[in-house]
Amino acid sequence: MTTINFEAIQPGMMLSKDVIHSNGRILLRADSLLTEQHIKIFKTWGISSVTIKVFNGKSATVTMQDAADVIKAIERKQHIKFKYCDLNHPFMAELFRLSIKQELNQITGSQ
């Protein structure tokens, strides 16, 4: 068992400890195989490090329903805020993406 930097995390790695947000919510259980989507969600929730297995072991997949729900709710809110904007324009599309990121940062209290 070893702890590695976030940048070094790759899809396909296996967790050896639960990933728990600072608010106490468990984001992903131990033994889960990491996917690209998990890593993205960890980033938006401000998780800075996770503990993974460096050898093959049993895996148990846990859904990320809670985190996904939060992101969906923010997206809905931002769609209302941007309802007079043409999100096909590259500038507005980027602002929309950044605004969702900002909102998530505010929830997780990270930068």
Binding site: I80, K81, K83, D86, F91, E94, L98, S99, Q111
Partner: protein, 285 residues
């Protein structure tokens, strides 16, 4: 009742005028016989402002290597132009201190204004021909007309706000229907009476209608874009609940790349906190 934006601006000046320190500073700086000692004497008479000035010149934003501990050094370091702008910024916040708060959250209003000013200043630094401090002042003052409308015709403001809320419309469009013109026109008229630089007047007057401006297209585009970004990325607001639609010609006018937006957010956070603590020292970010 047919009022014009100019009449509203005139009326507001009779109930709330710019503090004398700003007017005196303009007088001194426009007088070729005055010296920086005159400026120091004037500033030292205003303790509150002196403290803010010392804080500003010693902030990370200036990044001066050694501590500046006298007012005369501070005045020299900051320069006359920037001093005028700082005095203007703090004066304007003071001038509208007594706006009735039932219809507007003044803290959120000034935060939105400062956010817009800081974004405008950062964007301005990406193009050589822009004057960054003028960009900040334009951003800071772009919605000032909203306060004028609120103070002079509060009943129409009330109507505007409730219609915009009920119908989920853009506030500045409802303003046109209810008041007959927008806060942008009123703001432009007020800044004209204050004799601010023409670019600042134009940027304020046309920030919702950049294609109507017959000159200073880049200055207008800068505030149009900074306002959209402020509404999109910061929870503060001058009363508007939605992000205004983009004028694509204004975006093209700036010639900026979308790729600069994310990196500039980190720069923004620090500058915003510094600027807020100088203009509104008692408010948390």
């Amino acid at each position: 009742m047919a009022v014009t934006p100019e009449q509203l601006a005139e009326k507001v000046l009779t109930i709330a005028s710019l503090p004398t320190v700003y007017l005196k500073l303009m007088e001194i700086t426009n007088n070729p016989n005055s010296t920086s000692a005159d400026i120091v004497t004037l500033i030292s008479g205003d303790i509150g402002f002196s403290v803010r000035l010392m804080k500003l010149v010693n902030s990370a934003f200036f990044g001066y290597p050694s501590k500046i501990d006298s007012l005369s050094r501070a005045v020299t370091v900051i320069g006359t132009k920037q001093l005028q702008e700082l005095v203007l910024a703090t004066s304007v916040v003071d001038m509208f201190k007594n706006v009735p708060t039932e219809l507007i959250n003044m803290e959120l209003f000034w935060k939105h204004s400062i956010v817009c000013g800081v974004i405008a200043r950062i964007l301005a630094n990406h193009r050589r021909e822009f004057n960054a401090e003028r960009a900040f002042i334009s951003g800071l003052l772009h919605d000032i007309g909203r306060l004028v409308i609120l103070m002079i015709i509060p009943n129409l403001t009330k109507k505007t706000l409730s219609i915009a809320k009920a119908q989920e419309h853009l506030l500045f469009q409802v303003e046109t229907d209810v008041v007959g013109f927008t806060h942008a026109a009123v703001g432009g008229a007020l800044l004209k009476q204050w004799q601010l630089p023409e670019q600042v007047i134009y940027a304020t007057q046309y920030h919702h209608s950049p294609s109507v401006a017959d000159k200073f297209k880049a200055d207008v585009a800068l505030i149009h874009i900074a306002d959209i970004m402020a509404n999109a990325l910061h929870p503060s607001s001058s009363g508007e609940s939605f992000v205004s639609p983009l004028n694509t010609a204004a975006w093209d006018e700036l010639g900026l790349s979308v790729a600069i937006l994310e990196p500039m957010l980190a720069e923004f956070t620090q500058q915003y906190q510094d600027t807020l603590s100088i203009i509104m020292p008692d408010v948390a970010p």
